[in-house]
Amino acid sequence: MSSVAQPRRALTREGWAALASAPSPPLLALWADAGDIFALFIDDETAVLVSTEIVDGGYPALSPARPAAAWSERLVYDLWGYVAIGGSDARPWLDHGRWPVTTPLAPRPGAPRPAGPPEFRFHDSLDQLPIGPVRGGIEPAAHLRFAIDGETVVGFEPLLGYSHKGTLGLMRGKSPRAAARFAARIAGEATVAHSLAFARAAEAALGCEPPPRALALRDVMAGLEQIAGSLDRLTATAEAVGDQLLATRLACHGEAARQSAGLAFGHRLMMDCVVPGGVASDMATDGDAAILRMLEDLAAELPDLRLSGRLAGSDDASQRPAALGRRIRRAHALVRAVPAGGLAVPLAAASGEGLGFFADDRGGHIGHWLRLDHGQIAGTFVYDAAWSRWQLLAAAVVGTRLDDLPQVLAAFELCSSGADL
């Protein structure tokens, strides 16, 4: 379920440069802490964390060999002010020139920079289609800029940062228990997943292990969140293709899943229910019965909840009911196997470094990294699965006809908060 993380390897500048110039393994995240630059790679489902010292405010860029790393390098510059030497793109990313500071996470943040219009790298001869950040419907804040040739999308660049809330800065200087509230609010649709990855990072840093009942309840919550999430996304897809009857039936099951979570754990999205060291409170006495009833109702109707023919060609959507069936069976087994015991262990006010992961079954990774100093967060970074979905969209949307754009965007389920932090 979660990738096995190795301890961090501190590289020499030559070692880093060698890694930077090879296109593999793919980069997951890039951040800075206490004068070092950190890179998290994912190599065959194993997380590899390396770091090197920042010299003269810079580090060798990864973007020449890995074009997708450019967004990460821009993020590192906007938050810490460290330059990717030889990087392919030096435009701002999160910083739109609206903050009262620049490089807010640097040891000495800078004076604000003037706001200017964003620049997009499209050929002058192409028409541009701007969408957002106010997009209508119930959509996340982001600006999408398409370059179009006739009716076809030939280029795409997103402008993110509209959801940047300064979460990393807020987490600093707090205990893991206090900072868990921020981890739970990085991406609403993955609040349990983020709380879990954050808790795992804190527990890895402090070398503690939650009690078996807490671990089992966490698994139940994560399973419930995934079921509710897939029902939400299936409903959105059914709405996008105009299958109202199916959308209605899916929405009823989705609501039942949220209600059972509310009944069992006291919050419909289970926000703040997973905390470092364990879980915040026990499952309600009739919570397991409510969850099992919901799962059985859903399993009974699942064979009929198939998307209509128009979506038959889309691999993702056609795979989903089967994936949902697996998830239901898994959750069913988890709920029935919760052992008795304690709910949380106290956290020591110690120092250490830890990496925590959550791998969802859509192939997405959520990662939290923490450096604790006498029980307080001294440095942190958060990686959300939305980051890679934005990159996939950028690659996949080229060649799409304008008519198909709404369905394509719906299929990618973009969330900006997780990518903007």
């Binding site: 106010v134 119930i138 609040t191 419909r268 999205l269 900006s416 908060s417």
Partner: protein, 182 residues
């Protein structure tokens, strides 16, 4: 023969009905007021809503979508989500209003026609929520646009969203009825 004569006489004699009385001005007025009020309560209560994500984590959007879908079915009360501020009576703001979203929120508000109602949904939109004090946020919808209704919660449940928007619908229908009866 007699038939023709009777007919001609009737035609020449004119109507037998007397001059009709004028309609009672008072009664007409009070009836119109009552009918208008009932019509507005029943039919004129729709609201066109533009959602603006001003940096939300996405939790409020999950519950907003739930409020809109089957089970809660917000649209049965006439609440429609529109795609442009030009069609919106209500601006529904979620998120703590990040500094990067301030201008877009101001522009959306400026582009709306009257009555420019603003609803802040969720603790973040009410006052910044847990993100209070961050360099990157303005701290709630009220810092940027005048807020008419707050629906708190992190996130608010679909019931709370529904109850809040229904209160707005009723208040709006009454004020429309009051305007038309003037």
């Amino acid at each position: 023969m007699t038939t023709w004569r009777r007919l001609a006489r009737s035609l020449l004699a004119g109507p037998r009905a007397g001059t009709p009385p004028r309609a009672d001005v008072e009664a007409t007025h009070s009836l119109r007021t009552r009918l208008d009020a009932r019509l507005h309560a029943g039919l004129g209560g729709g609201l066109a809503v533009l959602h603006v994500d001003a940096g939300s984590c996405g939790g409020c959007e999950i519950e907003l979508r739930a409020a809109r879908r089957a089970v809660y079915d917000l649209e049965r009360f006439g609440v429609r989500f529109v795609a442009t501020p030009l069609h919106a009576e209500v601006l529904l703001v979620t998120g703590p209003v990040t500094r990067n979203m301030v201008e877009a929120l101001e522009q959306a508000h400026a582009a709306m026609p009257e009555p420019k109602l603003v609803v802040a949904v969720g603790d973040c939109a009410v006052d910044g929520g847990v993100f209070k004090g961050s360099y990157a946020i303005a701290g709630g919808a009220g810092t940027t646009v005048p807020v008419d209704l707050q629906i708190g919660g992190c996130p608010p449940t679909p019931e709370r969203i529904l109850a809040g928007l229904r209160a707005l619908l009723e208040a709006n229908a009454r004020s429309k009825a009051a305007v038309s009866s003037r």
